[in-house]
Symmetry: C2
Protein backbone atom coordinates (compact mmCIF):
# COMPACT_ATOMS: atom_id res chain seq x y z
CA UNK A 1 0.00 0.00 0.00
CA UNK A 2 1.28 3.47 -0.80
CA UNK A 3 1.81 5.32 2.44
CA UNK A 4 -1.02 7.82 2.94
CA UNK A 5 -0.68 11.34 4.34
CA UNK A 6 -3.79 11.21 6.54
CA UNK A 7 -4.19 8.45 9.15
CA UNK A 8 -6.44 8.25 12.23
CA UNK A 9 -3.87 10.02 14.42
CA UNK A 10 -3.90 13.11 12.17
CA UNK A 11 -7.64 13.67 12.56
CA UNK A 12 -7.72 15.33 15.97
CA UNK A 13 -10.76 17.06 17.42
CA UNK A 14 -11.21 20.55 16.02
CA UNK A 15 -9.02 19.98 12.99
CA UNK A 16 -10.60 21.51 9.88
CA UNK A 17 -9.71 20.72 6.26
CA UNK A 18 -10.53 23.03 3.37
CA UNK A 19 -12.58 21.33 0.64
CA UNK A 20 -11.55 23.55 -2.27
CA UNK A 21 -14.13 24.69 -4.80
CA UNK A 22 -16.59 23.35 -7.34
CA UNK A 23 -18.27 25.41 -10.06
CA UNK A 24 -21.76 24.08 -10.75
CA UNK A 25 -22.95 24.16 -14.37
CA UNK A 26 -26.45 23.89 -15.80
CA UNK A 27 -25.30 20.98 -17.96
CA UNK A 28 -24.15 18.95 -14.96
CA UNK A 29 -27.35 19.70 -13.03
CA UNK A 30 -29.51 18.46 -15.91
CA UNK A 31 -27.31 15.44 -16.66
CA UNK A 32 -27.43 14.23 -13.05
CA UNK A 33 -31.16 14.88 -12.73
CA UNK A 34 -32.04 13.12 -15.98
CA UNK A 35 -30.42 9.96 -14.61
CA UNK A 36 -31.23 10.06 -10.92
CA UNK A 37 -33.77 12.74 -9.92
CA UNK A 38 -35.93 13.82 -12.88
CA UNK A 39 -38.06 16.37 -11.02
CA UNK A 40 -38.87 19.42 -13.20
CA UNK A 41 -36.95 21.99 -11.12
CA UNK A 42 -33.75 19.96 -11.64
CA UNK A 43 -34.28 19.60 -15.42
CA UNK A 44 -35.56 22.94 -16.65
CA UNK A 45 -34.73 26.58 -15.89
CA UNK A 46 -38.32 27.77 -16.26
CA UNK A 47 -39.68 25.01 -14.00
CA UNK A 48 -36.97 25.88 -11.49
CA UNK A 49 -37.96 29.56 -11.48
CA UNK A 50 -41.60 28.56 -10.97
CA UNK A 51 -40.66 26.37 -7.97
CA UNK A 52 -39.75 27.42 -4.45
CA UNK A 53 -36.10 26.87 -5.43
CA UNK A 54 -36.01 29.95 -7.66
CA UNK A 55 -34.07 28.59 -10.63
CA UNK A 56 -32.53 25.51 -12.22
CA UNK A 57 -31.32 23.80 -9.08
CA UNK A 58 -29.22 20.74 -8.34
CA UNK A 59 -30.80 17.62 -6.89
CA UNK A 60 -29.91 17.34 -3.21
CA UNK A 61 -28.23 14.05 -4.07
CA UNK A 62 -26.19 15.82 -6.74
CA UNK A 63 -25.06 18.33 -4.12
CA UNK A 64 -24.03 15.44 -1.85
CA UNK A 65 -22.19 13.80 -4.74
CA UNK A 66 -20.30 17.01 -5.59
CA UNK A 67 -19.43 17.30 -1.90
CA UNK A 68 -18.08 13.73 -1.97
CA UNK A 69 -15.81 14.57 -4.90
CA UNK A 70 -14.47 17.62 -3.06
CA UNK A 71 -13.85 15.42 -0.01
CA UNK A 72 -12.01 12.81 -2.11
CA UNK A 73 -9.77 15.41 -3.69
CA UNK A 74 -9.17 17.37 -0.48
CA UNK A 75 -7.91 14.47 1.61
CA UNK A 76 -9.89 11.23 1.52
CA UNK A 77 -8.01 9.64 -1.41
CA UNK A 78 -4.75 10.36 0.41
CA UNK A 79 -6.01 8.91 3.69
CA UNK A 80 -6.29 5.49 5.32
CA UNK A 81 -10.10 5.62 5.07
CA UNK A 82 -11.82 2.26 5.44
CA UNK A 83 -15.23 3.59 4.52
CA UNK A 84 -18.29 4.96 6.26
CA UNK A 85 -21.29 3.04 7.63
CA UNK A 86 -23.71 5.83 6.87
CA UNK A 87 -24.66 9.46 7.35
CA UNK A 88 -25.99 10.92 10.60
CA UNK A 89 -27.79 13.86 9.02
CA UNK A 90 -27.96 16.01 5.90
CA UNK A 91 -29.44 19.51 5.73
CA UNK A 92 -29.99 21.04 2.31
CA UNK A 93 -30.07 24.59 3.64
CA UNK A 94 -30.49 26.56 0.41
CA UNK A 95 -30.87 25.68 -3.28
CA UNK A 96 -27.71 25.06 -5.32
CA UNK A 97 -28.26 26.91 -8.58
CA UNK A 98 -26.56 26.78 -11.98
CA UNK A 99 -23.57 29.12 -11.87
CA UNK A 100 -22.97 28.70 -8.14
CA UNK A 101 -19.43 28.19 -6.86
CA UNK A 102 -19.37 25.84 -3.86
CA UNK A 103 -16.70 25.70 -1.21
CA UNK A 104 -16.41 24.73 2.42
CA UNK A 105 -14.70 22.58 4.99
CA UNK A 106 -14.85 19.38 7.01
CA UNK A 107 -14.14 19.53 10.74
CA UNK A 108 -13.41 16.77 13.24
CA UNK A 109 -16.07 16.67 15.99
CA UNK A 110 -14.87 13.52 17.78
CA UNK A 111 -12.35 10.71 17.35
CA UNK A 112 -12.15 7.38 19.16
CA UNK A 113 -10.44 4.03 18.83
CA UNK A 114 -12.53 1.05 17.74
CA UNK A 115 -13.12 -1.39 20.58
CA UNK A 116 -13.53 -4.39 18.29
CA UNK A 117 -10.81 -3.55 15.74
CA UNK A 118 -7.63 -2.18 17.34
CA UNK A 119 -6.11 -1.12 14.01
CA UNK A 120 -9.03 1.25 13.35
CA UNK A 121 -10.21 4.59 14.66
CA UNK A 122 -13.60 6.17 14.07
CA UNK A 123 -13.76 9.89 13.31
CA UNK A 124 -16.96 11.95 13.43
CA UNK A 125 -17.12 14.97 11.18
CA UNK A 126 -19.29 17.95 10.36
CA UNK A 127 -19.02 19.22 6.79
CA UNK A 128 -20.36 22.53 5.48
CA UNK A 129 -20.64 23.88 1.95
CA UNK A 130 -21.35 27.50 1.08
CA UNK A 131 -22.09 29.27 -2.19
CA UNK A 132 -20.20 32.26 -3.58
CA UNK A 133 -22.40 34.64 -1.53
CA UNK A 134 -21.42 32.91 1.69
CA UNK A 135 -24.82 31.26 2.16
CA UNK A 136 -24.71 27.79 3.69
CA UNK A 137 -26.13 25.26 1.22
CA UNK A 138 -25.18 21.90 2.79
CA UNK A 139 -24.53 20.65 6.30
CA UNK A 140 -23.63 16.99 6.67
CA UNK A 141 -22.57 14.92 9.70
CA UNK A 142 -21.03 11.47 9.45
CA UNK A 143 -18.37 9.12 10.76
CA UNK A 144 -15.55 7.52 8.76
CA UNK A 145 -13.25 4.66 9.80
CA UNK A 146 -9.48 5.17 9.36
CA UNK A 147 -6.53 2.85 9.86
CA UNK A 148 -4.04 3.95 12.47
CA UNK A 149 -0.69 5.04 11.10
CA UNK A 150 1.21 1.95 12.20
CA UNK A 151 -1.46 -0.32 10.71
CA UNK A 152 -0.54 0.73 7.17
CA UNK A 153 1.26 -2.19 5.50
CA UNK B 1 -50.73 22.13 -12.78
CA UNK B 2 -51.58 18.60 -13.81
CA UNK B 3 -53.54 16.96 -11.04
CA UNK B 4 -51.29 14.52 -9.18
CA UNK B 5 -52.27 11.11 -7.86
CA UNK B 6 -50.48 11.41 -4.51
CA UNK B 7 -51.25 14.34 -2.18
CA UNK B 8 -50.62 14.77 1.56
CA UNK B 9 -53.93 13.09 2.48
CA UNK B 10 -52.93 9.87 0.69
CA UNK B 11 -49.77 9.40 2.76
CA UNK B 12 -51.25 7.97 5.93
CA UNK B 13 -49.21 6.38 8.70
CA UNK B 14 -48.23 2.81 7.89
CA UNK B 15 -48.82 3.14 4.16
CA UNK B 16 -46.05 1.45 2.19
CA UNK B 17 -45.21 1.99 -1.49
CA UNK B 18 -43.22 -0.50 -3.55
CA UNK B 19 -40.14 1.06 -5.18
CA UNK B 20 -39.81 -1.36 -8.10
CA UNK B 21 -36.38 -2.62 -9.11
CA UNK B 22 -33.03 -1.42 -10.38
CA UNK B 23 -30.33 -3.63 -11.90
CA UNK B 24 -26.88 -2.27 -11.06
CA UNK B 25 -24.20 -2.58 -13.74
CA UNK B 26 -20.43 -2.35 -13.45
CA UNK B 27 -20.45 0.39 -16.10
CA UNK B 28 -22.79 2.60 -14.06
CA UNK B 29 -20.81 2.03 -10.87
CA UNK B 30 -17.57 3.09 -12.55
CA UNK B 31 -19.16 6.02 -14.39
CA UNK B 32 -20.64 7.48 -11.20
CA UNK B 33 -17.45 6.89 -9.21
CA UNK B 34 -15.19 8.46 -11.82
CA UNK B 35 -17.18 11.68 -11.55
CA UNK B 36 -18.13 11.82 -7.86
CA UNK B 37 -16.34 9.26 -5.69
CA UNK B 38 -13.09 8.02 -7.28
CA UNK B 39 -12.05 5.63 -4.52
CA UNK B 40 -10.40 2.46 -5.90
CA UNK B 41 -13.10 0.00 -4.73
CA UNK B 42 -15.68 1.94 -6.75
CA UNK B 43 -13.52 2.06 -9.90
CA UNK B 44 -11.87 -1.32 -10.22
CA UNK B 45 -13.02 -4.92 -9.68
CA UNK B 46 -9.66 -6.05 -8.33
CA UNK B 47 -9.41 -3.15 -5.88
CA UNK B 48 -12.98 -3.89 -4.80
CA UNK B 49 -12.15 -7.54 -4.11
CA UNK B 50 -9.12 -6.45 -2.08
CA UNK B 51 -11.26 -4.09 0.04
CA UNK B 52 -13.68 -4.93 2.83
CA UNK B 53 -16.49 -4.50 0.28
CA UNK B 54 -15.59 -7.72 -1.54
CA UNK B 55 -16.03 -6.59 -5.15
CA UNK B 56 -16.62 -3.64 -7.46
CA UNK B 57 -19.08 -1.74 -5.31
CA UNK B 58 -21.24 1.32 -5.79
CA UNK B 59 -20.43 4.55 -3.99
CA UNK B 60 -22.87 5.06 -1.12
CA UNK B 61 -23.93 8.26 -2.86
CA UNK B 62 -24.60 6.28 -6.03
CA UNK B 63 -26.82 3.92 -4.03
CA UNK B 64 -28.70 6.94 -2.66
CA UNK B 65 -29.03 8.37 -6.17
CA UNK B 66 -30.38 5.08 -7.56
CA UNK B 67 -32.81 5.02 -4.63
CA UNK B 68 -33.94 8.54 -5.54
CA UNK B 69 -34.67 7.47 -9.11
CA UNK B 70 -36.74 4.54 -7.87
CA UNK B 71 -38.63 6.93 -5.57
CA UNK B 72 -39.29 9.37 -8.43
CA UNK B 73 -40.63 6.63 -10.67
CA UNK B 74 -42.64 4.87 -7.95
CA UNK B 75 -44.64 7.91 -6.84
CA UNK B 76 -42.78 11.15 -6.25
CA UNK B 77 -43.12 12.52 -9.81
CA UNK B 78 -46.86 11.87 -9.60
CA UNK B 79 -47.17 13.56 -6.19
CA UNK B 80 -47.62 17.07 -4.84
CA UNK B 81 -44.08 16.98 -3.36
CA UNK B 82 -42.69 20.37 -2.45
CA UNK B 83 -39.23 19.03 -1.67
CA UNK B 84 -37.29 17.84 1.34
CA UNK B 85 -35.20 19.89 3.77
CA UNK B 86 -32.73 17.07 4.35
CA UNK B 87 -32.16 13.51 5.44
CA UNK B 88 -32.44 12.28 9.02
CA UNK B 89 -30.18 9.27 8.62
CA UNK B 90 -28.66 6.94 6.04
CA UNK B 91 -27.32 3.46 6.78
CA UNK B 92 -25.30 1.71 4.08
CA UNK B 93 -25.90 -1.73 5.53
CA UNK B 94 -24.10 -3.91 2.97
CA UNK B 95 -22.10 -3.26 -0.22
CA UNK B 96 -24.00 -2.82 -3.50
CA UNK B 97 -22.08 -4.87 -6.04
CA UNK B 98 -22.08 -4.98 -9.83
CA UNK B 99 -24.86 -7.35 -10.92
CA UNK B 100 -27.05 -6.70 -7.89
CA UNK B 101 -30.77 -6.15 -8.35
CA UNK B 102 -32.13 -3.61 -5.87
CA UNK B 103 -35.71 -3.34 -4.70
CA UNK B 104 -37.58 -2.16 -1.65
CA UNK B 105 -40.22 0.12 -0.27
CA UNK B 106 -40.92 3.45 1.39
CA UNK B 107 -43.24 3.52 4.41
CA UNK B 108 -44.96 6.44 6.14
CA UNK B 109 -43.81 6.77 9.77
CA UNK B 110 -45.64 10.00 10.61
CA UNK B 111 -47.67 12.74 8.94
CA UNK B 112 -48.58 16.18 10.24
CA UNK B 113 -49.93 19.47 8.96
CA UNK B 114 -47.53 22.40 8.74
CA UNK B 115 -48.23 25.03 11.39
CA UNK B 116 -46.81 27.88 9.33
CA UNK B 117 -48.12 26.84 5.89
CA UNK B 118 -51.70 25.52 5.97
CA UNK B 119 -51.57 24.22 2.39
CA UNK B 120 -48.70 21.87 3.27
CA UNK B 121 -48.28 18.64 5.20
CA UNK B 122 -45.01 17.08 6.28
CA UNK B 123 -44.59 13.32 5.92
CA UNK B 124 -41.81 11.31 7.60
CA UNK B 125 -40.70 8.15 5.84
CA UNK B 126 -38.44 5.16 6.28
CA UNK B 127 -37.10 3.65 3.06
CA UNK B 128 -35.38 0.30 2.69
CA UNK B 129 -33.57 -1.28 -0.24
CA UNK B 130 -32.59 -4.93 -0.46
CA UNK B 131 -30.51 -6.91 -2.93
CA UNK B 132 -31.62 -10.02 -4.82
CA UNK B 133 -30.58 -12.21 -1.88
CA UNK B 134 -32.89 -10.29 0.46
CA UNK B 135 -30.02 -8.57 2.30
CA UNK B 136 -30.76 -5.01 3.39
CA UNK B 137 -28.35 -2.61 1.65
CA UNK B 138 -29.85 0.82 2.41
CA UNK B 139 -31.99 2.29 5.18
CA UNK B 140 -32.90 5.94 4.87
CA UNK B 141 -35.16 8.19 6.95
CA UNK B 142 -36.37 11.59 5.82
CA UNK B 143 -39.30 13.98 5.65
CA UNK B 144 -40.89 15.40 2.52
CA UNK B 145 -43.39 18.29 2.22
CA UNK B 146 -46.56 17.70 0.18
CA UNK B 147 -49.39 20.00 -0.86
CA UNK B 148 -52.79 19.03 0.43
CA UNK B 149 -55.20 17.80 -2.22
CA UNK B 150 -57.35 20.93 -2.29
CA UNK B 151 -54.25 23.15 -2.56
CA UNK B 152 -53.50 21.86 -6.05
CA UNK B 153 -54.26 24.63 -8.52
Amino acid sequence: MTRKTWAFEDLTVGRSIDLGHKDVTAEEIVEFAAEYDPQPMHLDEEAGRASILGGLSASGWHTCSMYMRLLCDAFLLDSTSQGAPGIDQIKWKRPVLAGDRLGGSITVLAARESKSRPAIGIVSFRSELFNQRGDAVLELDNSIMFLKREAQA
